[in-house]
Each structure stands twice: as structure tokens, then as C-alpha cells.
């Protein structure tokens, strides 16, 4: 029996190649996105590890008030290696608009542990200054530029000799104040009162797992509030916080994408089951129970889901390094693919669930009907008196639009789903526009809350979403052409010109796109505001200008009309004569 | 003689059946018949009616007596016991279903076997006739000058004609196959 059911299921897949391909592509896109999110998280930690190795990073980094206290830590249990204590002081950096506090370390040579890694120029400040890379970016300073530092001991104009990174410094301006290295002499000149200096002691231990215990003993041995210690784990978490907005955006898009895909797959599967009314009746007549009929459909879509997940996994893990590279500014090199097989399972779960659940729901509804009901249920009815229909009747709509909108209203569930899908896609566009505005609005030199790499990521995801939405539209349009073949034949016989027939197919999609486009504006703004708030933005977020926002519905309608006119053209070419004789 | 009465449809049975409800005179019988069948039946004249009734009386199936106080010689008729028995048997016996006698078929077989006519042409001409008959009958139905009884009768004839036409198709098909 099971073999028979499986055979029936695969026969179904073969006979509907287009719908099958689309379902796989869409579900695959969903799987790819999930894998992408997971992989980005995984690859993000990898470059930090390399930065840590390159810097010969400190398992425990202590910050103490005196050189002696720092020296004393070098003898702690488990410490295998340590650097000479590095003094640091907070000075004022003169910027165009005023002053910014800046943590400045005084180096007499490269420290044995946790030494800065040059990303441009030299990591050895000598008489100049080495800036932490993200700080240099925000200040717009390059090797060779000059900056002015103020301290109690006077003012110094220093040449930037290099930019560098260390594993313990987070990205400016999120990590504020910024960090820089100068020669020990420069530090002494600007802050001669060595009593105000703090000392960094970088320690390496034999077992990194015990770093926490070592850090505890560092803090415990001193008067409260005078000493702090950071383990390598805390350094890594700080670095990965940089990925938080990216992850947030990715997660949001994953959500949006999953909803869109769910909706479209729901439409496709529902339509497919609807189309199978006769087959369902036949299977039941042959003696299959409703449960067995449902399982034929479920097996079929589960098969598609497995293929889609595999496809999505390959694509997702291949693209992850590209996306993760954007967040690796404070780290060495680009990330590599993690390709964790666990991600395959995590991505496959929801995708299979969505496919199987929507198939199950649609098939169950169908199989539970009596055979007689099933036969007549495919027939749409004239829309009943709702406000929407009243409107359609009142408006002096052209015949094409009238006919098209009616056919559309006859499948209200699908209408709603499609509106949701287009609205969400439009909302993603609004999100991208708002973010771009926030970047553009920032006064020159003012640091932005939006990481610079975010736009590239968001635009890429928007493109994916758009592609999915348009593909689905073409699919749904093809579907309605197929379902309405006979009706279109009648319209031709009654005297609608090919142009009118095409218009009757395209125009309702256009109207729907208009509605969805308008809905998408507030939806997108809400999404943006939510992400802005969650990622710790303050005040009112900058919003895209209204002229841009007005463009969203217009562009939505234009794209939808273009996408659906392809299937519409196919429909006008199909011979009316054949369609009319169908029963 | 009984079987002749049973299986040939004639006005005798119709009159006897109408009289089985009680007695009546000739004029009443004429009116009832015309009410039921309308113009489908040719106009009956009184002479025909009375000669049929007197023949029935001669055969002992009907008896009559003069209407009192009528100087025109009007008579009232009723069934005799024999007549009633006969008409009851006539009513009970179903009309045979299969018609294995068909004039066209006999003509067709004979004429084609001796080469008197082209079979296809013969069939087509017969089809002409059937279609024309169908047209005549349908015109009758839509002409509205008829009662429900006559309509049923004509509808029956239409169905028979449609069957005859289908049968012609079948003959044509079989003949064509045989000659091929």
C-alpha cells in the first residue's frame, strides 16, 4: 500500500513540472535564508578567533591602578605568559565639532601578549599615533593625516602612522571611547601625573577554560572597584555584538521571507489540490481512505521539501561568508564557511513543516468532502454582496477589470495571501529606503547607528525577496490563467479582444498590487522602527522622505503588471475553441 | 376473433372502454373523444359512430334502449356482460414491446440483395422521410392546438422516430463495414 501511495505521489510531481519547480525554488529560498542566518552566526566567531591568535591575545586582560599591582599578577597560578604592563590614560581628541574622550595606551615596544595588529601603516606608534581601525574609519583619518590630542600636560599634534586592531576592542562608536596607541614618551608628556594612569596586564594561561577563575582571583585580590579583568570570552562577545544589527536584520528578513514563502507555497499547494479534485474523487472511488489520499499529497510535498532543503543548504552556506565578511571589520581576514550539517536539519525542519502542513490542511479539506461536493466546489460563485463587491459594481470599471476582479474575488483566500506577500515585499523595500535615509541624513563626521555594511546586506536581501515575490506572481498568474481557461474562451467568444482578455487577467493583479503597495508603507515603517528600537537606537528614527515612500506603491504596481503580463499574453494566444469544449 | 379484438387498435375498443363507466349516447361519446384527442383525430361523423355502435350491438357486446320521450330515436348504450369481460381483458393485456416487423427493413434487405437500389441511397431517402416526420410531429407539439393526451402521444412518436433514425445510422454503419 505504502509503495502505491509513494508511486502516486511521484506521478503527481512529474505531471506538474512547473508548479513543482516553483515550489522547490521557493522552499529552497526559505531554507537558504535560514542556513544563511545560522552560518553567519557561526562564521562570525571564526575571524575573531584568528584575530585573537594573530595578536597573541590575552586570555585574561586586567586593568589595574599601579604598575606594581600589574607586575604582581604575572605570578598568578596557571599564568604561562604575560606582557610588560602597558600604561593608558584618557585624553581629549579634538574633532571638527569639539572634543571626544579617547583612551590612549603608551607603548615602548610591541607587547609580548595582545599586541595591536596593523591593518594599515605600522602598529608601532613611535612619535606618532596608531588608531584603532573602526575609529579611524569613523573619523575619516588615514595614514599620514594629523590629529590633535589635549591632556593636562599640554597639546600635541600627532601624525597617524597606522591603523590597527586588537581582539579586545569593540567597534567604535558602539565601543566608546575609542582607542589609540602612542609612544610612552608622548603619553608621559600629555598626562604627566602617572598616578592617574591605569595599567593593562595581558595574561595567557595554560588552560583557556580556567580564564574565568584567573580573572576572579585578579579582582578578588584588590580593593573593590579598583581592578577589572576581562576574559577572552568577554572579548569575543563584545566583538560579536557588532554582528547584532546584521543578525537582527537577517532574522527580520528571514521572518518576512518565510511568511512570503509560506503564503506562496500555500497558494500553490492549495491550487494544486483544487486542481486535483477529480483525481481525489477517483482515488476515493477506487477505495483509498481520505487519510490515504491526504498522505499521497503529503508524501509528494515532503519529497519536494527535502529537495528544496538540500538546495537551500548549498546556496545558504555558499553565500554566508560573503555576508559575514561585512561584519568582520574589527577582525582579521574574511570568514570562511562553517557548513555545519546541523544547520541542514534546523533549516529543513520549518521548510518541511510549512510544506507538509499546508498540503495537509488543503488536502484534508478536499478529501473530507463528499465526492459530489468535491466536484462542484471547484466552481467559483459570483461574489456575494460585500462592501468590496458593491464598490466593484458601482465603479464604472471597464469590462475587463470587472470580469477580472470578479474572478479574483471568487478566490478570496488566495487574494488575501497574495496581498500579504506583496505587502511584505513592499515593506522590505520601505525598510531599505528608511535605512538609506538614516545613512544619508547623518551630518558629516557624525557616527551613525547603522553599520555601513548593512545597506549592502539589506539590498541583497531585498533583491532576493523581490525575485521570490515576482516569481510567485508569475506562478499565481499562470495558475489563474489555467483555472480560467474556459472562462477566457467564453470571453473571447462573446467578443473580448485579445487586449481586453489580457487586461482582464492583469488588471486585478494591478489593483491588488496598488492596495498592497499602500499597505506596505506603514508596515515597512513599523518594521523599521521596531528593528531600530530593538537594536538600541535612540529617539525617532530618520524616515524616508514621502516622495520616496509614494514611489513604493507605484513601483509595486508597475512590477506586478510587468510580471503578470507574461502569463496573460500566453492566455490570449491559447485557442478559445479547445477551451470551450472542456467539461 | 377475440385476439383480433385485442390487438387491433380500433374505435370499437375506444367506444367500449368509454361505455364501461356507465351508459351514454353516441353524441356523448363523440364529445369525449374529441376532447381527449383534439384535432389529431379526423372529425368523426355521426353516421360512423352509430354504425360502429350498431355493429357492437349486433356482436352482443353492447346493448341499447331508446331514450324515453325522445321522438328523434336517440338511444342509450351500455356494455353487456360479454362486452365488459372483453374490454377488461383488453385493458389488462400489455401492448407488445418489440417491433420485429419493419417495412423499411424488409424493403431494404430485398431491394439491396437483388440490386434494385443503392443501399446508401435507400437509407438516405428513408432518413429524409423520418426527419420530415419528426418535423411534422414537432410542429404539432409547438402549435399549441392540442390537449395533454395528444401531446404525450406525439412525444412518444417523436421518441420512436429518433430511435428509427439511430437505427438507420446503425444499419449504415454495419453495411458499410460489411462492404468494406
Amino acid at each position: 500500500m505504502t509503495t502505491t501511495l509513494v508511486r502516486l505521489a511521484f506521478a503527481g510531481i512529474r505531471s506538474r513540472l512547473l508548479a513543482t519547480t516553483l515550489t522547490i525554488l521557493l522552499a529552497g529560498a526559505a531554507a537558504a535564508t535560514i542556513v544563511l542566518v545560522l552560518e553567519v552566526r557561526a562564521t562570525g566567531s571564526d575571524p575573531w578567533q584568528r584575530t585573537f591568535d594573530a595578536a597573541h591575545g590575552a586570555h585574561v586582560l586586567a586593568n589595574v591602578p599601579t604598575r606594581e599591582a600589574a607586575e604582581a599578577l604575572r605570578g598568578l597560578d596557571g599564568v604561562t605568559e604575560s606582557a610588560d604592563p602597558v600604561p593608558e590614560a584618557t585624553l581629549d581628541l579634538r574633532t571638527g565639532g569639539g572634543r571626544e574622550p579617547l583612551r590612549v595606551a603608551g607603548l615602548s615596544g610591541p607587547p609580548a601578549v595582545n599586541h595591536p595588529i596593523a591593518t594599515a601603516g605600522s602598529a608601532d606608534p613611535r612619535d606618532g599615533v596608531v588608531l584603532e581601525r573602526s575609529l579611524a574609519r569613523v573619523l575619516g583619518l588615514d595614514v599620514g593625516d594629523r590629529l590633535v590630542l589635549d591632556g593636562p600636560g599640554g597639546r600635541s599634534t600627532l601624525v597617524v602612522v597606522g591603523t590597527a586592531i586588537v581582539p579586545n576592542q569593540g567597534r567604535y562608536p558602539r565601543s566608546n571611547p575609542g582607542f589609540a596607541w602612542v609612544g610612552l614618551g608622548t603619553l608621559d608628556r600629555l598626562q604627566p601625573d602617572q598616578g592617574t594612569w591605569r595599567w593593562d596586564e595581558a595574561l595567557r594561561v595554560d588552560d583557556p577554560a580556567t580564564a574565568g577563575a584567573v580573572a576572579d582571583s585578579v579582582v578578588r585580590g584588590a580593593p573593590p572597584g579598583t581592578v577589572s579583568a576581562e576574559t577572552w570570552r568577554e572579548q569575543r562577545d563584545l566583538a560579536l555584538q557588532e554582528a547584532a544589527p546584521l543578525q537582527l536584520v537577517l532574522s527580520m528578513y528571514t521572518g518576512v521571507l518565510l511568511v512570503v514563502v509560506f503564503v506562496v507555497v500555500g497558494i500553490l499547494v492549495g491550487a494544486r489540490v483544487l486542481e486535483q479534485n477529480r483525481e481525489i474523487g477517483l482515488l476515493k472511488a477506487v477505495g483509498l481512505t481520505p487519510r490515504q489520499v491526504t498522505s499521497v499529497f503529503v508524501i509528494e510535498s515532503a519529497g519536494l521539501g527535502v529537495v528544496a532543503t538540500g538546495l537551500g543548504y548549498v546556496v545558504g552556506s555558499a553565500t554566508a561568508p560573503l555576508v559575514a565578511g561585512a561584519m568582520a571589520e574589527t577582525m582579521v581576514d574574511g570568514p570562511v564557511s562553517a557548513a555545519d550539517p546541523v544547520h541542514l536539519l534546523v533549516a529543513g525542519g520549518p521548510v518541511l513543516m510549512v510544506l507538509v502542513a499546508s498540503t495537509w490542511a488543503a488536502a484534508r479539506r478536499r478529501t473530507r468532502m463528499s465526492v459530489l461536493n468535491a466536484l462542484s466546489s471547484g466552481q467559483p460563485m459570483p461574489p456575494r454582496r460585500s462592501t468590496l463587491v458593491g464598490l466593484v459594481r458601482l465603479l464604472p470599471l471597464g469590462i475587463s477589470l470587472d470580469v477580472g476582479v470578479r474572478a479574483f474575488l471568487a478566490r478570496r483566500g488566495r487574494l488575501l495571501l497574495l496581498t500579504a506577500a506583496i505587502s511584505l515585499t513592499g515593506a522590505a523595500g520601505v525598510f531599505a529606503l528608511s535605512m538609506q535615509t538614516a545613512l544619508d541624513d547623518r551630518p558629516a563626521g557624525e557616527p551613525s547607528d547603522v553599520p555601513v555594511e548593512l545597506p549592502a546586506l539589506v539590498y541583497a536581501l531585498d533583491a532576493v525577496l523581490l525575485l521570490i515575490a515576482l516569481t510567485s506572481l508569475v506562478a499565481v498568474a499562470l495558475l489563474s490563467v489555467r483555472e480560467r481557461l474556459r472562462e477566457l474562451g467564453v470571453l473571447k467568444a462573446v467578443g473580448l479582444t485579445p487586449r481586453q482578455v489580457a487586461a482582464s487577467l492583469v488588471s486585478p493583479f494591478g489593483v491588488l498590487a496598488g492596495v498592497a503597495g499602500v499597505v506596505s508603507v506603514p508596515l515597512g515603517l513599523v518594521l523599521y522602527a521596531a528593528v531600530y528600537a530593538v537594536s538600541g537606537g535612540e529617539g525617532r528614527p530618520a524616515v524616508a522622505p514621502w516622495s520616496w515612500l509614494l514611489l513604493v506603491p507605484v513601483v509595486t504596481v508597475a512590477l506586478v503588471v510587468i510580471a503578470t503580463s507574461v502569463p496573460a499574453r500566453v492566455a490570449t494566444r491559447s485557442p478559445a475553441a479547445a477551451a470551450l469544449r472542456m467539461e | 376473433m377475440d385476439s383480433e379484438y385485442l390487438f387491433s387498435l380500433s374505435m370499437r375498443e375506444v367506444f367500449m372502454a368509454l361505455l364501461s363507466g356507465g351508459s351514454g349516447h353516441g353524441y356523448e361519446l363523440k364529445q369525449t373523444i374529441q376532447q381527449e384527442f383534439g384535432t389529431l383525430l379526423p372529425e368523426l361523423n355521426s353516421g360512423q359512430i352509430y354504425s360502429t355502435l350498431s355493429r357492437l350491438e349486433r356482436d352482443g357486446l353492447v346493448e341499447s334502449e331508446p331514450v324515453p320521450d325522445d321522438n328523434r330515436g336517440k338511444r342509450v348504450y351500455r356494455l353487456t356482460g360479454r362486452g365488459r369481460k372483453l374490454i377488461e381483458r383488453w385493458v389488462e393485456a400489455p401492448v407488445p414491446g418489440a417491433r420485429l416487423k419493419d417495412e423499411f427493413f424488409v424493403k431494404f434487405v430485398v431491394a439491396t440483395s437483388v440490386g434494385l437500389a443503392d443501399p446508401a441511397e435507400l437509407i438516405e431517402r428513408q432518413r429524409d422521410e423520418y426527419l420530415q416526420s419528426l418535423r411534422d410531429l414537432d410542429a404539432r407539439i409547438s402549435s399549441a392546438e392540442h390537449g395533454p393526451t395528444a401531446e404525450l402521444l406525439v412525444e412518444g412518436a417523436v421518441l420512436h422516430l429518433k430511435a428509427d433514425l439511430e437505427w438507420l445510422d446503425l444499419i449504415e454503419q454495419r453495411m458499410g463495414r460489411r462492404s468494406a
Binding site: - | L41, D138, S142
Partner: protein
């Protein structure tokens, strides 16, 4: 006077090369204004193909179609559509009412297409439906109607514009005999009012109602017979057996 519709050497072949199937071969047919012509023949004889070609729903492989003295088989799809909406009406075996419209709206559709105002179209549709005896079903959905009722609505839709020609493809083909009789009666009545009709049918009763019956076989016309006006019918009673 020119014929209303004329087909000259009409042929239609499906497929190409070895697999080519001739659905229609060299058919000539003339229909005069006011005529009622029936095309008979077994299924697959090409009668539907002929109708589709005459209506411009399909293109002939060879031959010509003339409507009212103008050649129409070479017209563009758009021009054909415009021609259909004013001059032709259709009745199909499976009614083919638009399921998303009520009966009245189905009838209004060709009127609106012909450029009538909405209100005028509504009035005309109601009147035509009343003529066909289904005024009370005007606001019903097609699927709420019986087959016979649906075919009446379809007929109303075909007649609404008072087209030059009404084409029917098995108009009684999916009706029981009572409904078929009613629809035939309505067709006959339309013809009596001067409507030209061309019906493909295998219902002998429909064919017998026509003035002329064209019989087709294997894509060719095998016989054309003109029926005489109906003769009087009498019942076979023997009023006076010996």
C-alpha cells in the same frame, strides 16, 4: 442578395507532417439570412470544427469565410472579436456561463461590449430573460440553476444583441429530453422571429426543426437536405373497422 455566411473550400488540419489529421476537408456551405441550418453527423465528423472556423474562433488551414459579402478569415484577432460581439451569438453544449456573474450579468456582458450603457444593458437583459421565461432567475448564480435554465440564460446572452447569426454547438447535448424540448422550442421561436440559426447537433429533433440539414462525415459534407414545411399529422385510428 449576398448570402449571410459563406464558406468556400474550408479545410482545417491539426498537427503537421505524418501526424497531420484533417478535421475538415474542402467544405462549402452557404447560409441565407433568416435560415435555420442544422449540421448533423457522428462525433468527430468535424461539425464543431466547422462552427469554430465560421465563428472565427479558429483559423482555417485553407479556404475562405465570407460574412455578409466581406471576407473574415484573414482578419486580426481584435477585428474578429469586434465582429463577434456585434454580429454573432453563441450557445454551447456546456452552457459556458461565466461562473462569477449572475444570470442577468451574463446577458448584459455582450450588450456592454457592444457599447450599450449599463442601465440600458440591464433593462435589455431583463427583457430578454423574461422573453425566455426565466425572469425570476435573473439574480441567480449559474451554479444555482438547472442545466435547462443555464442554457436559457446562455441563449439569452446569445440573442441579447440581436446578432446576425446565432451559432450553437450541441445546444441540447447535455440536457434531459424535457429541458432539450424547451430549449428547442425557444430556438424555434427565435427563428420564427427571423433569427438566423446554425446549429451543430446530433439530436435528430433539433435537426428536424431546421429548414436545411447538412450531414457531415469524416470532415466532409455528405448530404444536404431541405426539409419541407410540416405536414398535418393524424392519429392512426381506424374509425370504422369492418
Amino acid at each position: 442578395m449576398t448570402a449571410l455566411l459563406e464558406a468556400r473550400g474550408l479545410s482545417r488540419t491539426y498537427g503537421e507532417g505524418e501526424a497531420a489529421v484533417a478535421a475538415l476537408h474542402d467544405v462549402d456551405l452557404t447560409i441565407e439570412r433568416g435560415e435555420f441550418v442544422a449540421v448533423m453527423g457522428p462525433s468527430g465528423c468535424g461539425k464543431s470544427t466547422l462552427l469554430n472556423l465560421l465563428a472565427g474562433l479558429d483559423r482555417p488551414s485553407a479556404g475562405e469565410v465570407w460574412l455578409d459579402g466581406a471576407r473574415v478569415d484573414r482578419l486580426s484577432e481584435t477585428a474578429l472579436a469586434r465582429l463577434r460581439r456585434r454580429r454573432l451569438g453563441f450557445v454551447f453544449q456546456f452552457f459556458n456561463l461565466l461562473p462569477t456573474m449572475t444570470a442577468a450579468e451574463n446577458v448584459e456582458l455582450p450588450l456592454l461590449l457592444a457599447g450599450r450603457r449599463r442601465r440600458a444593458a440591464r433593462r435589455t437583459a431583463r427583457r430578454v430573460l423574461a422573453d425566455l421565461g426565466i425572469a425570476d432567475k435573473a439574480d441567480a448564480a449559474p451554479r444555482e440553476l438547472s442545466g435547462g435554465q443555464q442554457q436559457r440564460v446562455a441563449l439569452a446572452r446569445a440573442l441579447a444583441n440581436q446578432p446576425d447569426l446565432v451559432l450553437g454547438d450541441e445546444p441540447t447535448g447535455s440536457l434531459d429530453s424535457a429541458a432539450a424540448g424547451e430549449v428547442l422550442g425557444l430556438l424555434r421561436a427565435a427563428h420564427a422571429r427571423g433569427q438566423t440559426l446554425l446549429l451543430a447537433t446530433h439530436d435528430a429533433r433539433v435537426a428536424a426543426a431546421a429548414d436545411r440539414v447538412v450531414t457531415m462525415r469524416d470532415g466532409e459534407v455528405t448530404r444536404e437536405r431541405t426539409l419541407a414545411p410540416s405536414r398535418p399529422v393524424t392519429l392512426p385510428f381506424d374509425p370504422d373497422p369492418a
